[in-house]
Amino acid sequence: MSNKVIHAIYNDDDVLMDAVKQTRAAHHHIEEVYTPFPVHGLDKAMGLAPTRIAIASFLYGLVGLSVATTMMRFIMIVDWPQDIGGKPSFSYIDNMPAFVPIMFEMTVFFAAHLMVITFYMRSKLWPFKKAENPDVRTTDDHFLMEVGVHGNEDDMVSFFKSTGAVEVKVIEKH
């Protein structure tokens, strides 16, 4: 099993999209695509499974809502009940409208932060991590498609040339 990959570099996102579709149609295995900006619809064209971050986000929101409710109930009702504006804190449900802003904010806070953390973990990103992109031009104006080499190398190179790549390289991956 060779570790060779082909780096096909494009300079336009529309050309890239067509190339990705052709590559998939020709049954080559796309390992990764590096782009300087998010290309709309690329995930679908590459055949990536749909993201489940929305489900995670909803669950994180529920966690935030529960934390806020528990926290406010303990602080305002159990631990130190006060009479604010003629509304003595005897029960959570009776004073609930006052806590809604906090419940809402905590829901958003938990959903947002945990979602970002989840995203970083799933993308294997953390502080001081060395950048993985194989060509610095992908941070500027070029798009790079990495495809595993299986079968005839020369055929593949000419195939990627024909998809409109401005550059095709064969790289030994370690």
């Binding site: 619809g41 929305a54 504006g85 003629g86 509304k87 409208p97 006052a98 809604v100």
Partner: protein
């Protein structure tokens, strides 16, 4: 070209006829004084106590019978009060068919204004996704003119004391009420009607001009009409945001003339805006299901559903902001508004929150659901019913007090205006091509894909 199917036409006419019958029954079955007396005497004692505890507007009804009874000096306080109560309930009963008519009338008319505002926003923002839906929006705003005329007639009838929806129009009330005297520079019938003419006139003017330009654009080779529409849309939006706010004080908030809320205009706006967007989605899906609008794809529906979801949340935000501040500060003249609704309108008050917030939140939060026609239709129907109830809650407690009931008058009024709405909207749709082909952004809209 769309042809108004005879089935739908018959359906709308049947709705209108049933509606007129319902409204007629509502007006004819208003109980007279004897019946009200009997009704109250049959009711429980507790009912009496609650009804006399009405907020300030009750006072005006007590004025008339008091003067009637002065010739009987022997009348003791107890019977006087009882008599006043009977009169009060009688007036509420007389108001009921009028209020039912008014709520349905203003709901359908404002829903159209919501669509018009949405249309103007799309024009002013030069949105690329929506031009494919412009003819649908123009079709809906076709109802604006008949809707405004009927509505204005109702306001005129109120102004000429044919009904008692607006308590501040009653001079005997104002004479006894310092707060209303202080407001009479603003809340007086001539000025009220002048404002109504300006607002309705301005909206209808924009509707007329934008429609004319939009049709002219289809036949022209340059984009001057499109540019004109852009300028008109921007101007209209400025006029709209001011007039809409004042309109909500005039036509809705002033039925409770002692009470005021500073974000009421926005709150009413959110309510009819989401209803308008929902109507666009429903009519688009209807036309699509009949094989029209072949360029409308699930991405367009998805965007409309996102707006339905987003504006529902926005409505809740405003509703809650208004509620929480008044609930928390607990100032008597403000909080009566909610106390009365929670005591006497518990089901519509909380039911509306479920229909307008909890339900759309849970069902439309899912991305895939926003693309499924049947989910959007189901959510849309619930949202429209919920916002009708929202308007019901804004008007009814002030005009009929605790004598509310969603019966033949209410359903009849809804049926009549729904029938008229369907008839006018689909007639307008059938007059022109369903694709505003002259719009320079049409190609983008046809290929809109998310």
């Amino acid at each position: 070209m769309y042809t108004f199917s005879s089935k739908l036409k018959t359906f709308s006419i049947v709705l209108m006829v049933l509606g007129i019958i319902g409204i007629g029954i509502g007006f004819m079955t208003v109980p007279n004084k004897e019946e009200v007396k009997e009704m109250i005497e049959n009711a429980h004692d507790g009912h009496h106590g609650k009804a006399t505890a009405h907020d300030s507007h009750a006072t005006h009804h007590e004025a008339a019978p008091a003067s009637h009874d002065t010739h009987k000096s022997e009348v003791n306080h107890e019977t006087n009060e009882h008599d006043a109560h009977i009169d009060h309930v009688l007036h509420q009963q007389q108001n009921k068919p009028w209020s039912a008519f008014y709520v349905a009338c203003i709901f359908f008319m404002l829903l159209t204004v919501g669509v018009l505002a949405f249309y103007a926003i799309q024009q002013a923002a030069q949105a690329g996704w929506s031009p494919i839906l412009f003819r649908v929006m123009e079709g809906i705003t076709g109802y604006l003119l008949p809707g405004s005329i009927i509505f204005f007639v109702v306001l005129l009838l109120s102004g000429f004391h044919m009904n008692h929806l607006f308590v501040w129009m009653d001079e005997t009330v104002v004479a006894k009420d310092h707060l209303l005297q202080a407001k009479s520079g603003y809340l007086n019938v001539p000025f009220f009607l002048i404002r109504a003419v300006i607002f309705l006139g301005g909206w209808n003017l924009y509707r007329y001009v934008s429609r004319k330009n939009s049709l002219a654009q289809d036949k022209s080779n340059d984009i001057t009409n499109y540019k004109k529409n852009f300028k008109w849309a921007a101007g209209f939006l400025v006029f709209f945001i001011v007039s809409e706010s004042i309109m909500s004080w005039d036509w809705i908030m002033s039925v409770d003339p002692h009470w005021y809320s500073t974000l009421f205009g926005w709150y009413v706006f959110a309510s009819f805006f989401v209803s308008g967007i929902t109507t666009i989605a429903l009519i688009t899906l209807y036309l699509k299901s009949k094989g029209y609008l072949e360029y409308v794809n699930t991405s367009h529906i998805h965007d409309l559903a996102k707006f339905m979801f987003g504006i529902s949340i926005f409505w809740t935000y405003l509703w809650f902001s208004q509620f929480m501040l008044i609930w928390y500060s607990d100032i008597p003249e403000e909080v009566t508004y909610f106390v009365f609704r929670i005591e006497n309108y518990k089901l519509p008050f909380f039911g509306m929150l479920v229909m307008n917030f909890v339900f759309p939140l849970l069902i439309l939060i899912n991305t895939d659901f926003k693309r499924l026609s049947w989910i959007v239709v189901m959510a849309g129907i619930v949202i429209l019913c919920g916002h009708y109830i929202d308007f019901y809650n804004m008007i009814m407690p002030a005009t009929v007090g605790d004598q509310w009931f969603i019966g033949v008058s209410e359903l009849g009024s809804i049926a009549f205006f729904l029938g008229l709405f369907i008839f006018v909207v689909f007639t307008t749709l059938s007059k022109e091509s369903l694709v505003a082909k002259g719009n320079p952004l049409m190609e983008e809209s046809k290929h809109f894909h998310y």
